[in-house]
Symmetry: C2
Subunit: 347 residues, 2 copies
Amino acid sequence: MLTERQLLILQVIIDDFIQSAQPVGSRTISKKDNVSYSSATIRNEMADLEELGFLEKTHSSSGRVPSEKGYRFYVDHLMSPFNLSGQEKTFVKQAFNHQMVEFEQVVQQSARVLSELTNYTSIILGPEVYETKLKQLQIIPLSQISAVAILVTDTGHVEHRSFTIPVEIKPADLEKMVNILNERLNGVPIIYLHHKLNTEIAELLKKHTSEFEKAYQYLRAALFDEQPAKLYVGGKTNILMQPEFRDIDKVRTLYSMIEEETEIAHLLRHNSSDIKVSIGTENEVNAMKDLSIITGSYSIGDTQLGTIALLGPTRMEYSKVISLLNLLSDRMTETFHSWYQKGSTGE
Amino acid sequence: MLTERQLLILQVIIDDFIQSAQPVGSRTISKKDNVSYSSATIRNEMADLEELGFLEKTHSSSGRVPSEKGYRFYVDHLMSPFNLSGQEKTFVKQAFNHQMVEFEQVVQQSARVLSELTNYTSIILGPEVYETKLKQLQIIPLSQISAVAILVTDTGHVEHRSFTIPVEIKPADLEKMVNILNERLNGVPIIYLHHKLNTEIAELLKKHTSEFEKAYQYLRAALFDEQPAKLYVGGKTNILMQPEFRDIDKVRTLYSMIEEETEIAHLLRHNSSDIKVSIGTENEVNAMKDLSIITGSYSIGDTQLGTIALLGPTRMEYSKVISLLNLLSDRMTETFHSWYQKGSTGE
DNA sequence: TTTAGCACTCGCAATTAAAGAGTGCTAACA
DNA sequence: TGTTAGCACTCTTTAATTGCGAGTGCTAAA
């Protein structure tokens, strides 16, 4: 429905605005190499594009600025694929070069790369533990009254919780119980753990003395509370360099949201393996109305582990960010895969 | 060397400025209840106090503002002890009321309380693991080529590291080794671990096959790298409400420093059990030149675990912060003590 | 259909003016 | 001799005024 020329002009305007952060005027566009129309012609087209809702004016005689609809159209149809520079590619390569053995290490490194290469804020959502399987349960007594319970998943995640032990329970009993649990629960997806405990295992434990019952209460409380997925944030200060964040109040609302974690975690989590772009109010959170989020994901094999995202102003280098996100998402998945390909289920 | 009257006036000026954040003039002071001199008299005294370096002017005909020296004098000699309101006390009490069993929980809760009650940014430095003793070492194989090593200290801290296992090492061998290590290392302060490993244990292991030697290499690398103490920060956005942080650049340098962690950790760590106040340039870090840090500590028994601090503008409510820091420091120490008083060394 | 030209709009930066807060100094007072 | 009233002066802050320039919309000519 848009003419060839309108498409071109819209694209050039948005490209320019993404670079300059300044409202762009008709003359600026007419001077571009790939545009061969006079400023007056451009002006007419701009007026049309504004009427169609792709552009906006900041005031009656200013240049044009892309509207949210404009960005959406740009992302869906207009933007040209971004070729990462050799420099950028080697930067990523180097980051993944030195042998990494820790999940956190990989995630933190990725967050750093993303934020340094884009000057936006990167957010990586750690895996929901519940999607992985129990590998081993350990209880280590610290004193007569306290112990720490450690839960290891097949992906190498370690969760731990301290808890107090009622005095009437002997260490030996506790140990026995842990043995039973380990025997029965190895390989069980964390998400079913609670259920399985309450049914089969509870029965089994009841056959022993009442002390088991009590110890079990404590243990369950310690281990199976909801543990929210962890949030890794990189380049929090990058966003302060964007001209749209001259205003302290905006900074505060955004940072409060990041600090609060739950809302942003909810915003990020998504299931598709594709890259998803959410522009401004599409995020349905007031604090995000001038910001865009681009999310991707990383996995081990078939199971998607977590989300990897970049947060920036709506005036974002969408094309570059998407390329980069794809690259990092692949690299992360690759890395994790290389760890567990050989006999993840074997003992 | 200062007259009684000068002391009073200096105190009132600083008190007022801490509240108002505005340069304070002679008339403002003369109207205070506890001051019975005319503005002209105050002016003369102010001129003297300025000459002595306790006060400054922002421009030739403005009111006075405390200098760094002024704050220092205020903190050392002038400020009156702060009585926490009933509300504040119950707020703290409530935070510590519900049964807490996790170290992190206590620390995070404390950080939250501190920042909410002061509107400054709270920073708590976690313990150096090295000051505690090894309780148990666990190695849990995840696949043929990877395993996670878990290290539990007597204070209930859990450190874990994933690492790859060279193929030639059999799980049984690994287990054997862990058993030996546990036997020998239980109760050894983490700080001596490395040394002890390199001398006694290495000997012991060498008596077995060369595979032990190799496995040991891997294990050592995985476990005994420097792990910096963790930083818990609360109320990061509070500082944005202080009028001295209208300037984005200041915000950026400060946040960069907090994000970077090492410098601020170095700034905070201190050994005395007293509260310490560092005002502006006393911190010897350029980014801190308009900020003050007040630090205290928390312990278990005799061993000091970590540092608890508040970060705010030099125009800080020193008195209140000090009271609060004392309170929280006590509460934390109390809580930890209650966990481990009974038989921390017992099995 | 495109473009040149022109009147018009608006924001921005610089300039000026007025108001207000506060000082330093002087001289009078207790 | 210490204290205070009074006053001229300084400097900031705010608002109002102005001119400039970037950019538009519209008209008429190519």
